[in-house]
Amino acid sequence: MPERELARTAEPRKVSKATEPLPRDILTPDDYRELLDQLYLARYFDVRLTKEKKRGRLRGTLYSSHNQEAILVGSLYALRSTDWISPIHRDMPAFFLKDIKNGWDSKDRLGMSIEEVCSQVWGRVDSPGRARDNWSHIGSKKKRIIHSTSMLAGTIPVAAGVVYADRLDGGDNVVVTYNGEGSTAQGAFHEGVNFAAVHKLPVVTVIENNQWAFGTPAHLGCPTEDVADRAKGYGIPGLVADGQDVLDVFDKVSEAVEYARSGKGPSIVECKTFRSYGHGDHDDDRAVKYRPQDEVEVGRSRDPIAEMKKVMIAEGLLTQKEADKHPAEYKGAGEVTDHDFPERVVEFLSRGVDFALKSPLPDASEARRWVFKEEDQ
């Protein structure tokens, strides 16, 4: 299995102000640039799809991860190729970001190609699930991505089972499951995390606390200030990360992953963030009414792209001029153009979109297949 180590040949840079060494200390300047590009990519995915939908080229609901991109980018950067992930509705970019550090176009990386993901977005037959289930409900056994249902938190027990089997086979792979803060109220969350804790399974539960579960504020779903406190009920670590800061997410998730991989067990990493728009794009207009405007402004005031640029400028990895070249931060789909993004990003995604638009719809003859395993499989 081709495996790219985090530490590159170049001398790792200490960027943290903390006295203790941090996981980020092994990151090189190239890693920083790569992380920034990935933030751009996740953001571009979001605004591009929104535009495609406005142009009428796309059906279905979009669950935007706008303003929450650092969580996916930072956490996935902390994983090995062979680790597993289990994304949910707001994590669409996770499918192509997984193992993307092994090369955006690497054929053997254990993440989905942009063509596959776009085919899923457009409901075309080249989607990994042949467009049988919608939006983020794709996955790949080969690429180690667990398929979710709509039922929130439902993949946590499944993820626990996956790594249980892996451990039985002598593996030391970790699984990262993603869930919104609202989903932590589900029974399956409890049963899954509890089982993982009893057996010290390498399950890292990333909680994307974007303050809202559809139209319900976090405090009506979770009784504690920090959702990470749920960890205390299981005697496992509950870390809180700044979800706007890709490096902090990387640090905390790296820590959790290391803890898991070394056999110490599961943990919860809460990443504090804020949902930029509606729950889905069908909710954009209503969200303006049920959420106080000042809360929204504060929530959006620390764009993850901007935050990363600040760090890089401070660390001398980026000039202000370079930073200003692609001013995608703080902008919604209506305010942004392709020029606000690095060419590499636009090209990569455009290739996916073009591919998807050419991929056919699945044929009706497939509709009744695979209820059960077919003989030739």
Partner: protein, 335 residues
Amino acid sequence: MSTAVERKTKNYLTGLKEAMYEEMESNPDLICMGEDIGLLGGAFGVTDGMQAKYGAERVIDMPISESAIVGAACGMALNGKTVMAEMQFIDFISCGFDQIVNMVATYCYRTAGEVPIPMVIRGPAGGYGGGALYHSQMNEAWFCNSPGLKVVCPSTPSDAKGLLKAALRDPNPVVFYEIKELYRKRSIEEELLDGDDALIPLGKARVGREGTDLTLVSYGNPYHLSLSAAKKLEEFGFSAEVIDLRTLVPLDEETITESLSRTNRLLVVNEAPMTCGFAGEVLARLSQAAFEHLDAPPARVTRTDTPVPWATPLESDVLPSVDDIVEAALKLCRY
């Protein structure tokens, strides 16, 4: 046909909303629970504005916890309240399943009548909208096979209003299937009655179209498909009677038997998976009760025994269409 404005016709969703408001107003012990039903007013707006009017204590924004929603609703119902528990999509009812079939459904029975549970579990259901596996289900058969629950499925705005009001006044737990594809359907809009006049009793089917050659029995969206099929069948010279069940449990067998005594042919249409679905139940009952009336094998058109897939060509294939109904009906008529 006159326009909506002239006739003040209202859609299915409005029927539900009016039912909720009228009952909230007349029954101070009515509590509403569900995800995002308060501040937001519900994913589809059935409880829109209700929290502002009746307060967050009576219109509760619940955590994403279907078991707690159903269980807590049961506790409130046991302690003097009437509860409307919303499932954001009826598909998620699976997450509160145990509480429904084992706690709620049986409470009256196991307490020898001491504790009936006045409670309505309602939510948007059904396919045809590209909702895929988890936003398209018609899983009513699970609950029809779980004694102690009434099961209701309106297919018109006035039934939506009248049946929901009746369900909210019923002392028993009711699982209430709303057809989201009908929520805003213009062609079925109707004028709606108010208050008690709007009530539609549970357990009574409705003959939606009279006919003489065969009986189409249906509910929900397939009821409208059946009406369309009936029209097409006219072109073939066959006259179809169309019955809208409205309530599945308890079933109004009489209305069907009466119809079959005249038409002698039975076709049941629904959009749930075939095996152990409610269409089969109707077939089973009537093939027995109306054996002497049947001049052709009783038939059903249902969803295939598959999940509901996403992509349109796939979804269309597995769900019943007007053509499927016409084809099955012709086979029956020409038998």
